[in-house]
């Protein structure tokens, strides 16, 4: 029984209408930019910086999807671990790459037990992982807000000037390790500045994750995701693999926020991490991933597409419209994409 409507050729239909629309939208934006003689090099440079900045957070979603947890809305848990690491390293006054390393190191060390606990909880709440992750993330972020206010950190650059206690909302990294990775291996290609260091770290982690899923452990994790009975028949404990996948995801999120912060130049505390999972999820979905399958390619393509739109939309549209439509566009594209993916679970 044929359904009425426009029939697209097969590969386009698999690509999906939302992705098509998004890609077209990006092309249109760039076309307008070219037509209005905008600083293309600057736009491209900014896009690349944003990709490097956000990439690892998107990458963090891959192990969760491949491990059968679905979309990891609980990314803020890993992010918090990374933020704690960053705050500790700032409080200790460590500069440069060493500071980034310390922040990431502490973040990872925290992320392992946190991820394990989170994974254990997800095993008990099968079928509702997305909601549980979302609200657990929200709850922990708000709890940490109270913690930041009461924190025993004394470094005057971090705490409120009045009262001398409680961390500020945003901590500036200027002069400490602001853009340290970005600048580390920076180079220019025909006028476009490329933040080599950050991209190198992102690329390296992508490679490691790709390699991981070709190891015995990685294959086991991915194989167990289709069904508990299949896993059992193959001698795999899917409870264990799901926890392993969650730990990996949380660890990557911790690293991701440290890289993000150094690129952005600020460490954002309090309510900033609340909604950080959503753009990352939209990125990987736009890249072609589904709730049950994701590849490195999806991470790269999706991050590039979505972040480019966000980067380019404001300057391009501000020539025509006053006011920042990029935020509204982000809400629509990001949540529309996630909604689309949610309605397609279980369909091939």
């Amino acid at each position: 029984m044929a359904k009425p409507g426009i029939r697209l050729p097969g590969f386009l239909r698999e690509f999906g209408i939302p992705r098509l629309l998004i890609a077209v939208f990006l092309v249109v934006l760039f076309a307008v930019a070219v037509a209005t003689h905008m600083d293309l090099r600057g736009l491209i440079s900014d896009s690349i910086v944003r990709v490097g900045r956000n990439g690892i957070l998107v990458l963090a979603l891959l192990p969760a999807i491949q491990g059968g947890i679905g979309l990891n809305f609980g990314l803020p848990l890993g992010i918090i671990c990374g933020l704690v690491g960053a705050v500790i390293s700032l409080n200790a006054g460590v500069h440069g790459i060493a500071g980034v390393g310390m922040a990431a190191g502490i973040g990872v060390a925290l992320a392992i037990p946190v991820g394990a606990g989170y994974g254990w909880l997800l095993n008990r709440t099968r079928g509702q992982e997305m909601m549980v992750g979302t609200y657990l993330g929200f709850a922990i972020v708000s709890m940490m807000s109270v913690f930041w206010l009461l924190a025993p950190f004394k470094n005057p650059t971090l705490v409120w000037a009045i009262g001398g206690r409680g961390l500020r909302t945003t901590l500036s990294l200027g002069g400490i390790y602001d853009k340290v990775l970005d600048r580390w291996l920076t180079f220019t290609v025909s006028g476009v500045r490329i933040p080599g260091g950050t991209l190198f770290v992102f690329g390296a982690l992508c490679f490691l994750v790709w390699l991981f899923f070709r190891t015995r452990m990685g294959i086991t994790i991915a194989a167990a995701r289709s069904s508990t009975r299949f896993a059992r028949a193959a001698g795999i404990s899917d409870e264990r693999t799901r926890v392993q996948a969650t730990v990996l995801s949380t660890v990557l999120a911790a690293i991701g926020i440290v890289v993000f912060s150094q690129s952005y130049g600020f460490v954002q505390l309090y309510t900033a991490p609340l909604l950080m999972a959503f753009p990352a999820i939209a990125c990987i979905l736009i890249g072609g991933a589904s709730v049950t399958r994701a590849t490195i390619g999806h991470v790269l393509v999706g991050t590039f597409l979505f972040q480019s739109i966000l980067t380019v939309a404001l300057p391009v549209t501000s020539q025509v419209i006053q006011g920042d439509i990029s935020e509204t566009a982000r809400l629509i594209i990001q949540n529309g994409m996630i909604l689309y993916a949610l309605t397609r679970i279980g369909r091939t």
Binding site: T215, R216, M217, I219, T220, S226, S227, R229, R232, G235
Partner: protein, 535 residues
């Protein structure tokens, strides 16, 4: 058991030449049967014979219409009918007592009995916004429910919650619900006694007789052949989508019915080996019981001889599939198993694989394959997990990277050896035909290089040509590689063709172990539980 006197009246329900195809596969090939008022008509057949499809058609289930509808006619009281939804079927007077209870545990008995047919009273809102907003007439609900419960002889309070009631009561509430329907013309019982105790089953049969005596037309689907003889006025035996016999319950026997259900073997083809009785067992099973829903194993004691092909057969639901599943640890089991002279722990799937056992499950899609992954990964997976094959060496075990070249080479070899029709080893398994998917499952098990291989339903859902091929592969495996095989199958003919011995399971126990060329009657007896021969 009184048949209707008015035989000139049209039957309450008649099915004429029902044909149903699922994607080119003919599941029903022209089934006809009729049920008269006041008659109990038993419908028997193996799983896969077409009973559930027939019921889905009768009950207007959406899955039928989503896959192209059906051919043939349904006549209700002589008038043609076609049901496009369960609601239509129910409104026309078809009642069904399902195998899984269709009760709402949080509702009271009366609420369940009157579900979606509650008597209501109009109120101001309903006069404006429609009859759906009429208020429930609780006193009438309770009165109707009381009457229905009395009809089935269940004395419980109609206003208590269903949750927590014993299983037998729940079944009777289901019946009460159907009986309460004023326009009930045909009542279908689908495996009603499957979960009941002996006493409750007796009560249910009594209720059935009572309802028939009152004039209801009853269609009774069951695997329990003794029940069939106890209550049926007429019997229809279904096999492979066709009616293969309508034995007269007054003169037929359980054995005869079993024979009809299972079919006559075409003849033994493979050369037989003969084992001297002193050949030591490679696998000894003592008092095995397995909790597999639908295929419960009660108490099985069996010895598998080294190098033989042992067939396990029996009617559906009697537990034959549970044996392999239990030993391989997929379902909880208890008992004593000895493999290769060492005690073998149950409920340890990983250990089973490591020790040299392998399993090709009857559940190809759910347990046997990763449909989204490549053929080569599917073939290599179990061996990779259990034996660490196809991995590059590396000091840290879990981080050993896959040796793709070795995996691919092996996959190509398997594709050639088993003649798997595919575009290449990296093709997704879900794109293969059923037969080729089965070959991938077998390849996966073979890659483990097991000493003993369990295969369940090796040729189910495969076209005829591929069936033969799979059986040949299994025989070759046993003959040339000295792998002991335990083949479980619903197709007795197939078992008798390749096995050295055939064990028949009845109600969770071994009824008999027979040589493949034993007389047909022996097999029929064993399947019907009438034999005393043991392993």
């Amino acid at each position: 058991m009184t048949p209707s006197a008015a035989s000139s009246a049209p039957p309450a329900l008649e099915l004429r030449s029902i044909v149903k195809e699922y994607e080119g596969n003919r599941v029903l090939k022209g089934v006809s049967l009729s049920v008269r008022e006041g008659e109990i008509h038993a419908l028997v057949g193996e799983n896969g014979a077409g009973k559930s499809t027939l019921m889905n058609i009768l009950f207007g289930m959406p899955v039928i219409w989503e896959t192209g509808g059906y051919e043939g006619e349904i006549l209700l009281g002589g008038a043609p009918a076609r049901f496009h939804s369960p609601a239509e079927a129910m409104n026309a007077g078809i009642g069904m007592v399902h195998q899984e209870f269709m009760l709402l545990p949080g509702f009271r008995v009366a609420e369940n009995i009157k579900l979606n047919r509650e008597p209501t009273l109009p109120n101001p809102a309903s006069r404006v916004l429609g009859p759906k907003l009429e208020s429930l007439d609780v006193p009438r609900m309770r009165a109707d429910a009381r009457r229905a419960l009395d009809q089935v002889g269940l004395g419980i309070d109609e206003w208590i919650a269903v949750a927590g009631l014993p299983v037998g009561h729940m079944q009777f509430i289901e019946i009460a619900r159907e009986v309460d329907k004023a326009n009930l013309k045909v009542l279908i019982f689908d495996e009603p006694t499957a979960v009941l105790t002996e006493t409750d089953a007796e009560k249910l049969l009594a209720i059935m007789r009572g309802l028939a005596a009152k004039g209801h037309a009853i269609l009774f689907i069951t695997h329990r052949l003794d029940e069939v003889l106890a209550v049926a006025d007429r019997i229809t035996v279904l096999r492979d989508g066709e009616v293969v016999g309508t034995p007269d319950p007054k003169t037929t026997t359980v054995v005869r019915i079993a024979e009809l259900m299972v079919g006559r073997p075409a003849g033994v083809t493979a050369p037989r080996r003969f084992f001297a009785p002193s050949t030591e067992p490679v696998l000894g099973v003592e008092h095995l019981s397995v909790d597999m829903p639908g295929e419960r194993v009660e108490d099985v004691t069996l010895a598998v001889r080294r190098g033989e092909i042992l067939g396990i057969g029996g009617l559906a639901g009697h537990g034959k599939l549970g044996i392999a599943n239990g030993i391989m640890g997929l379902y909880p089991g208890s008992g004593r198993v000895i493999f290769d002279k060492a005690v073998f722990p149950l409920n340890e799937p990983r250990l089973a694989l490591e020790r040299g056992l392998a399993f090709v499950s009857e559940d190809r899609r759910g347990v046997g394959l990763l449909p989204e992954e490549s053929i080569e990964l599917n073939i290599a997976l179990s061996a990779l997990e259990a034996h660490g094959r196809f991995l590059h060496p590396f000091p840290i075990q879990p981080l050993r990277v896959v040796d793709h070249r070795a995996m691919r080479a092996h996959a190509l070899e398997m594709i050639r050896a088993l003649d798997i029709r595919t575009t290449g080893p990296s093709q997704q398994v879900r794109r293969l035909s059923g037969g080729n998917q089965q070959k991938v499952c077998v390849a996966r098990a073979m890659t483990l290089e097991p000493r003993l291989l369990f295969v369940s339903e090796p040729t189910r859902g495969i076209d005829v040509g591929a069936k033969q091929r799979v059986l040949e592969i299994l025989s070759a495996l046993n003959r040339d590689h000295d792998v002991t095989l335990v083949v479980t199958s619903s197709e007795l003919a197939e078992l008798r063709a390749i096995s050295d011995r055939v064990a028949i399971v009845y109600r969770g126990r071994i009824a008999a172990v027979l040589p493949p060329d034993a007389p047909d009657a022996d097999f029929g007896l064993a399947m019907a539980g009438e034999s005393a021969k043991a392993a």
